[in-house]
């Protein structure tokens, strides 16, 4: 649809956003929803080198905005888009804006970046004039057509949009350099008239892509706009061109205008205000001279910015009183659901959690293990055993207990390549799988027959001990149930050929634990079982199991807490954790040697199939 030259944006205007500005896009869509637009104002996003979709909200509903790798593709796919909002940085904005000027369908290009070299900005303006296009910016937040189209971040949050009546068109046209002040001005205008029709911030640079006067002339031509408001600024000649236009009768609608920067005469010569263009090199460029000249040609110029609102109100009321304008009625805006994150930040919502964690916390500034900040853990040189204590038992263990855990890790770290865990790891590594797969396949063999008897041994020995069964009664009851005692028995080790690991663990416990009641009980049981068969010794799983319980007794924990650890089966974790070290080693060993795929030899398998069917 062709829009008249004076109208850059209406309720059907569609735009392309250059740069992955997700917040700005969401704010534009929130505005659209508030204005009850038929279609969202953002047709597409261009993010160089990326093809994607961006999921955002339109009211409560989620919608997709396509993301294209370049502008030409986006234009081809969305021929209805005639506005580009260019968020490219000051380094690349020149090139990307030139590309945009080459796209016939784009009529208006907004350049957000601040700090574009003046020669480049000037060049862009000249190109735009030649091609009869409009550039808004650089160094701007953009502008807004109330109730129709919002450029990027203009107008701030949706509450401000609604409280400044920007969700529906009023009758005032506004233009200024400053983006921040334009938002302030929308607020002032909404309080002193029936609201804004369109507002533009042309940006604070010395060579803006379009000028204050050009936008005022557009507003003059637009029959929906009844009065004009403009904020000028010290520096440059632009306001003098407005003086000329008023004199020549090219601007006839009532114009309320104030030129800021009256304080510059009190400042050191050559001071640079916040805007690059705000710099008076000559008397003509001062705010006083411009305000005076504007006043002389009949522009409504207040005594100071303090009276700006009053001047607008007076002018608007006069239009209404003279019957030249009927104030536009207010419209309710549909509420925009607040983002959950923001609602949380503002303490407005609560919801029950699905998960609970009582051991570690990464939500603050610093990682915490059970109340111990990671910086404390490192600076005070906590041992691995102490860290295990924090994360498994939520307390810093005394040295003897931490050392016990570390000893268990050391002596269970590996047991050669032939045990099931290492074997599986090796075969998997040789099949070319990654570390995680190889170690996982090793871990999956841990169970009652291999390494996983720690928890079972602790459970059954402790149950018997707690029930005050004599070792005789215990062995007899197990025999009666026809159950093996977990933690008893070894394939090759025996009383005469003891397992050095068990010897070391027992020695350590005897020397360091406050007491070892369950070990003592298990050794009584061992006496009975080894009497039957030499290899029915307390094995390494059994020793770790009963000593873990003794450790908890020694720590003075109450019965309930100890039983819950035993019942959880978590004590198998000591073996699991220790042996993982070895399995990782085996994985690295195999990959280092580039060991090929392993195929088991036929002659090592007995093939005993049913007879062949004929």
């Amino acid at each position: 649809m062709k829009r008249p030259d004076y109208l850059l944006f209406d309720r059907d205007t569609r735009s392309i956003i250059f740069g992955m500005q997700t917040n700005a896009v969401q704010r534009m869509l929130d505005f659209d929803y508030c204005c009850k637009r038929e279609k969202p104002s953002v047709a597409a996003i261009v993010d160089p080198g990326r093809t994607d979709t961006f999921k955002c909200f339109y009211g409560k509903k989620e919608i997709f905005v396509p993301v294209y790798p370049d502008l030409a593709v986006a234009c081809a796919k969305h021929p209805d888009a005639d506005v580009l909002i260019n968020f490219a940085s000051f380094r690349s904005a020149f090139e990307t804006t030139k590309q945009a000027l080459d796209q016939d369908q784009l009529r208006t290009i907004v350049v957000i970046a601040e700090g574009i070299p003046e020669r480049f900005s000037r060049h862009l303006r000249a190109l735009a004039l030649r091609r009869r296009k409009v550039i808004i910016g650089p160094a701007t937040v953009g502008g807004i057509a109330a109730g129709a189209f919002k450029i990027g971040n203009t107008g701030g949050t949706i509450d401000n949009i609604v409280s400044s009546k920007l969700h529906r068109a009023g009758s005032v046209g506004f233009v200024s350099k400053s983006g921040g002040m334009s938002n302030e001005a929308y607020n002032i205008i909404s309080r002193n008239s029936d609201g804004l029709f369109e507002g533009i911030a042309i940006g604070g640079d010395a060579y803006p892509g379009s000028t204050l006067l050009e936008h005022l002339l557009r507003f003059e031509a637009n029959p929906a706009i009844k009065m004009l408001v403009c904020l000028g600024e010290v520096g440059g000649e632009e306001e003098w061109r407005i003086v000329e236009a008023v004199k020549q009768g090219r601007l006839k609608k009532p114009l309320v205008m104030w030129v800021t920067g009256t304080s510059i005469k009190y400042m050191p010569k050559g001071i640079q205000f916040g805007h690059a263009g705000a710099k008076a090199d000559a008397r003509r460029e001062t705010a006083e001279a411009k305000n005076q000249a504007l006043r002389e040609v009949g522009v409504i110029v207040p005594a100071s910015f303090d009276d700006f609102g009053q001047a607008i109100k007076h002018t608007f009321d006069k239009l209404v009183a003279e019957g030249q304008h009927k104030p536009i009625a207010d419209v309710d805006a549909p509420p925009i659901p607040m983002n959950y994150k923001e609602a949380v930040a503002r303490n407005l919502v609560r919801r029950p959690t699905n998960f609970t964690c009582t051991i570690s916390d990464d939500s603050g500034d610093e990682l915490v293990y059970a109340g111990h900040k990671i910086s404390k853990v490192i600076s005070e040189n906590y041992s691995v055993g102490e860290v295990i204590g924090l994360l498994w038992f939520k307390e810093r263990l005394p040295k003897w207990a931490a050392s016990f855990m570390e000893n268990v890790l050391k002596l269970s770290a590996d047991h050669g390549p032939c045990v099931s865990g290492a074997h599986n790891t090796i075969v998997t590594a040789r099949a070319g799988r990654d570390l995680m797969s190889a170690v996982a396949s090793g871990i999956l063999t841990i169970g009652p027959r291999f390494g996983g008897a720690v928890a079972g041994a602790a459970l059954s020995f402790k149950a018997a001990y707690d029930a005050k069964m004599t070792p005789d009664e215990f062995v007899a009851s197990m025999k009666q149930k026809n159950q093996k005692i977990q933690g008893i028995g070894h394939l090759i080790k025996s009383l005469k050929n003891p397992d050095m690991r068990v010897v070391l663990l027992k020695k350590f416990a005897k020397e360091n634990f406050p007491k070892t009641p369950l070990l003592d009980y298990a050794l009584e049981v061992e006496k009975l079982t080894t009497a039957k068969k030499d290899t029915l010794i307390l094995n390494v799983d059994g020793a770790i199991g009963v000593l873990s319980v003794d450790m908890m007794y020694g720590l003075g924990w109450d019965e309930e807490r100890i039983q819950s650890v035993v019942d959880s089966g978590g004590l198998n974790g000591l073996f699991l954790l220790g042996r993982t070290i070895g399995m990782i080693g085996h994985y690295m060993d195999q990959t280092r040697m580039k060991a090929p795929l392993y195929r088991h030899p036929w002659d090592d398998v007995l093939y005993d199939l049913p007879p062949q069917v004929k």
Binding site: V141, G180, Y266, F305
Partner: protein, 423 residues
């Protein structure tokens, strides 16, 4: 920032470095020039620049001010030792130039070259294009004889290629006409490629087939640093105007400004002033300063500054600390209250809660000192998360026992200035 003045020395060095690219090696400017400051090792300088010992010299201060001859600050046709003595006598001295008093810190030295005719050239950038000004009669009286200056317009899109410079030059140039034309085209190309905003050589001369720039004034567009910085050279600097050397606090803010995409500015006006405007936004900050002056309190305005572009909490904190440090160094000379005006319009995207958190952090640090100098705080702000920001700053001030008034967008932006001044 934007257009900023550079030293004559750097401007001439750029000519020496880049003109051959445009003019060929046939003629140009030889770049015999040195810059000296109080750290200069004179013996080493002479060793590295043997011409200093062989030729008669010219010396003058190089600190962005003109009319040096009028103020007796140009030394002509002296040898190395005489020049050295002359500079040493003036180095570090407070000197009055026109209305402004400043310290002499930088001098340039060049060979003194005999010449006849002095020409004038200036290139100025403007909205519609650049203009090359040329006059056969260069020197200090060029402005009085402005009707003799010819102006050559260079349109933005077409550039210098479409302009017949030689034809535009006065016929009186005689045999030098073609050479001057070639020089002007080369100079213009350098001007454009290096993002000069202004370049004036007044006067320049031609001697022995070489261009002799006798006096040069230049401004660069400092936003072009990313694309032209290499051409400017590693030693480029943008000195403060003469008599306006940056205070350490201004320097600190300039450094903070360079850290991120956000904008932070501070120019100290009167450290004894009552009114301390810590205002967000390039536009609003000017209006707050205007309002103080319009109400007749210009003398009480302590500084001009602004913070904008969604600065981080940390950056705002650093900026607020500089302001609070400056304002709490001593009590007001007449024992009056000091006003800290934390003002701003309705932000588009700057997070008010986040920036206020930075201000509150500084407030907590300076609470004791702020009370000691009798500070009252006035806040007016709107924008994303402003409810939270305003509530936080009110609570913080009340907890710290600092008197505070807090307003949102419902209150006219600059009314707090009146409130503060009439308290």
């Amino acid at each position: 920032m934007a257009q900023r003045g550079i030293r004559e020395y750097h401007g001439k060095k750029m000519m020496a470095r880049h003109l051959p690219t445009y003019l060929g090696d046939g003629f140009g400017y030889d770049g015999k020039i040195v810059l000296v400051d109080r750290h200069t090792d004179w013996a080493q300088l002479k060793e590295e620049n043997p011409w200093l010992g062989k030729e008669p010299l010219v010396a003058k201060p190089d600190q962005l001010f003109g009319k040096r001859g009028k103020h007796g600050l140009v030394l002509v046709k002296k040898n190395f030792d005489e020049t050295k003595a002359w500079i040493k006598e003036r180095m570090g001295k407070e000197t009055k130039v026109g209305e402004i008093t400043g310290t002499l810190t930088h001098f340039l030295i060049e060979p003194c070259i005999a010449h006849d005719q002095e020409y004038y050239v200036a290139i100025k950038s403007g909205a519609e294009g650049d203009t090359i000004y040329f006059s056969l009669e260069g020197g200090i009286n060029v402005e009085e004889n402005w009707e003799k200056v010819i102006a050559i317009q260079v349109p933005v899109l077409e550039g210098i290629e479409g302009v017949d410079v030689e034809k535009a030059l006065p016929k009186d140039l005689g045999k030098n006409r073609q050479m001057v034309a070639t020089f002007l085209v080369g100079l213009y190309k350098m001007f454009a490629d290096l993002h000069f905003a202004y370049l004036e050589i007044n006067p320049f001369a031609i001697a022995d087939g070489k261009i002799i720039p006798l006096d040069l004034v230049a401004k660069l567009d400092d936003t072009a640093e990313f694309c032209a910085g290499k051409l400017w050279g590693d030693d480029i600097e943008f000195p403060a105007a003469f008599g306006r050397e940056l205070t350490p606090e201004e320097q600190k803010v300039r450094e903070l400004d360079a850290l991120s995409g956000a904008s932070l500015k501070l120019t100290l006006l009167n450290p004894d002033g009552r009114v301390w405007n810590m205002v967000a936004g390039g536009g609003a900050s000017v209006i707050f300063a205007d309002t103080v002056c319009d109400l007749g309190y210009a003398k009480e305005l302590a500084f001009y500054g602004e913070y904008s572009g969604d600065p981080s909490t940390q950056l705002t904190y650093e900026y607020a600390k500089v302001v609070m440090d400056l304002m709490t160094r001593k009590a007001h000379p007449e024992g009056k209250t000091k006003a800290l005006i934390i003002g701003g319009g309705i932000a588009n995207f700057t997070d008010v809660a986040k920036t206020f958190t930075g201000i509150i952090m500084a407030m907590k640090e300076f609470a004791g000192k702020l009370k000691k100098v009798n500070t009252r705080i006035y806040v007016r702000r709107g924008g994303p998360n402003y409810h939270e920001g305003l509530a936080n700053i009110r609570k913080a001030a009340e907890d710290l026992g600092l008197p505070i008034e807090v307003h949102g967008p419902e209150y006219h932006m600059t009314r707090i200035v009146k409130d503060a001044l009439q308290a």
